[in-house]
Every structure is written in C-alpha cells, then in structure tokens.
Amino acid sequence: MPRNSRMSNEVNAGSMADIAFLLLIFFLVTTTIDVDKGVLVKLPPWSEEPPETLELKKRNVFSVLVNADNQLLVRGELTDVKELREKAKEFIRNPNAAPDMSESPNKAIISLKNDRGTEYSTYLEVYNELKAAYRELREVESQKKFGKMYEFLPRDKKKEINNIIPLVLSEAEPTNFGDEK
C-alpha cells in the first residue's frame, strides 16, 4: 500500500512539467530581450575655458550645418541628407585631388553644427550618415590593404586603418534661432 501512494505522487510530478512549461512559455513570450543598440559617441571632456582656436585650412573642413527647419547646409550648399554620405566620402578621400577638398583622409575634419530647434531624428540621421561614410571608407581601405572585411580584422590592424582614416568629428555649440518644441 505505501508503494501505491508513492506511485500517485509520481503522477503529480508528471503534471509538474506542464506547469513548468506554462511558466516557461509565459516568460518566453512576455520578456522581450530588447537588444539595446545605438550610435556610439564619445563626447569631448568638459573644460571651463573656451577651447583654443585652431587654425585650419578651409579645404580640410567639411562643415555641416543643420537649421531649425531640418535643412542641411553642407559646405555652403543646400543638400539633401541622402547625398550627404557620398559627399562626405568624396571629400574625405578626394580621389581627384581637388584643391578644395581634404589634403588627405587623416587631415579631414567634419564640423557639425545644429540649432537648438533641430529635430533629434534629423540630427541622428546626419550623424549616422557621417559615421557611415567613414565606415565605408574604412571598409574599402581594409579590403585594399588586408583583403579582409574591417569587421573581422584583429585589433591592431583595425587601429592601423583608423589611423589612416581617423574619424574627427567636431560638434560646435548649437545656435539658438529656432523654436524649441
């Protein structure tokens, strides 16, 4: 008889799996493991003193201005965001050695300035395009030099590429013309 009662206990354990399954499925469905992704940015350290003004050759500066109406002024020209990446790439690499474009990729400086009224989505899109331009250039360089994708290069080789094409993006203090919403 005691044997029998133990047997009935084991039947209970069988339904335990169902209960656990139910819980498991509940957790699987409800928890969204949201992989948090984003555009990585390194801010310059804060200093009370105004930054020293650097004398830069005009040809080495790729200025991007975004106004409160989310319009882009790239080197004095009204530009669509879609053209920004190509323009930036051409500027940085300067394949035809144009006199008004950067002397070499490691001398190119991107200057980004926006208004306090600029929409964040536009700002991020512009930032994204500039980053993308650099990524694509590095990819090309990596293929040329090592015949491998940049992503799969070891750290020191990545550094080498980064030294050839360094990302120099300076953000100016925003203007304050537009309305903040």
């Binding site: 084991e10 069988g14 555009v39 990585l40």
Partner: protein, 155 residues
C-alpha cells in the same frame, strides 16, 4: 510473471518524465535570471529614430538609461507637454543627472567603472535643445561614453 514484466516496462518511461520538470525548471530559472526586467515605467514618449551604424550595448549592468521625450498623455497634467528628461522612474531636471550617475556608479564594481556608458533614449520628435543640455551636463559629470539609442534600419 508476464504481468510483472509488463509493469516494469511501463515504469521506465515514467522515470524519464519525472526529470523533465527539473530540466524545464532549469530553463525557467535561466530565463528568469538572464532577462533583466526594466524596473522603471517609461513616462515619456520614446520612439527612437532609425539608424544603420549601430553598436550593441555589451553589459546591461554598466549602462544607465536617460529618456527624453514628451510626457505621455496621462502625465501631461503634472509635467506639461514639452519634452522632459526621465531618470530612473521619475521625471527629473537636468541638474539631477550627476546624482543619478553617481548612484549608478556606486553600484558598479570599481574595476568596471571606466566601462560605464549612458544610453540616451531620445524620442525622434524632440528638438536638440534639451538633448544638448543633457549632453553638456554629461560632459560636466565626466560621463563621456554615450550611445544614442536607435532602431536598426535596412537600407
């Protein structure tokens, strides 16, 4: 004799099912431990823009989240409708950032502190004014590693 052997034959599968709950429970506990439930309810609109140049945030414990957006409908009465900053689970001022960062930092082992990054979850419609103020405050607090949270976009 034949009856006995039949009973034995039936019993052996029953043993294998008995270990099933343990396995399932193990999986369950794994999921319960691994998934970090976000304890803060988001009180501001938070529709992050799309981007392509994305980096994955590595360690959740080393990330603090700053939400910026317009307060949701039910909080408009208290906080107004202009974009606000949310730290943890309450709407805060820009000046509260250093304390918030310090609180997070104190919970991180000292060795890992240089790896702390801030994830800015900013609604796409917000204007840059408040974002700039937050960025300036982050720079003043020496929190320079930031991440503009964004959804992946397919070109």
């Amino acid at each position: 004799m034949s009856k006995f052997s039949r009973k034995r034959g039936k019993e052996s599968p029953a043993i294998s099912t008995a270990s099933l709950p343990d396995i399932i429970f193990m999986l369950l506990f794994f999921f319960m431990v691994v998934t970090v439930m976000r304890d803060s309810t988001i009180m501001v609109a938070n529709n992050v823009p799309n981007a392509t140049e994305l980096t994955k945030l590595e360690k959740k414990s080393l990330v603090n989240y700053l939400y910026i957006g317009k307060p949701l409908e039910q909080y408009r009465g208290t906080y107004g409708s202009s974009p606000r900053l949310q730290l943890g689970d309450k709407i805060s001022e820009i000046d509260d950032i250093p304390l918030f960062l310090e609180e997070h930092r104190s919970g991180v082992p000292e060795k890992q502190r240089p790896g702390i990054s801030s994830s800015l979850r900013v609604d796409g419609e917000v204007t840059m004014g408040i974002v700039t103020d937050v960025k300036t405050q982050l720079r003043k607090s020496n929190q320079l590693k930031i991440n503009y949270s964004a959804k992946p976009r397919v070109d």
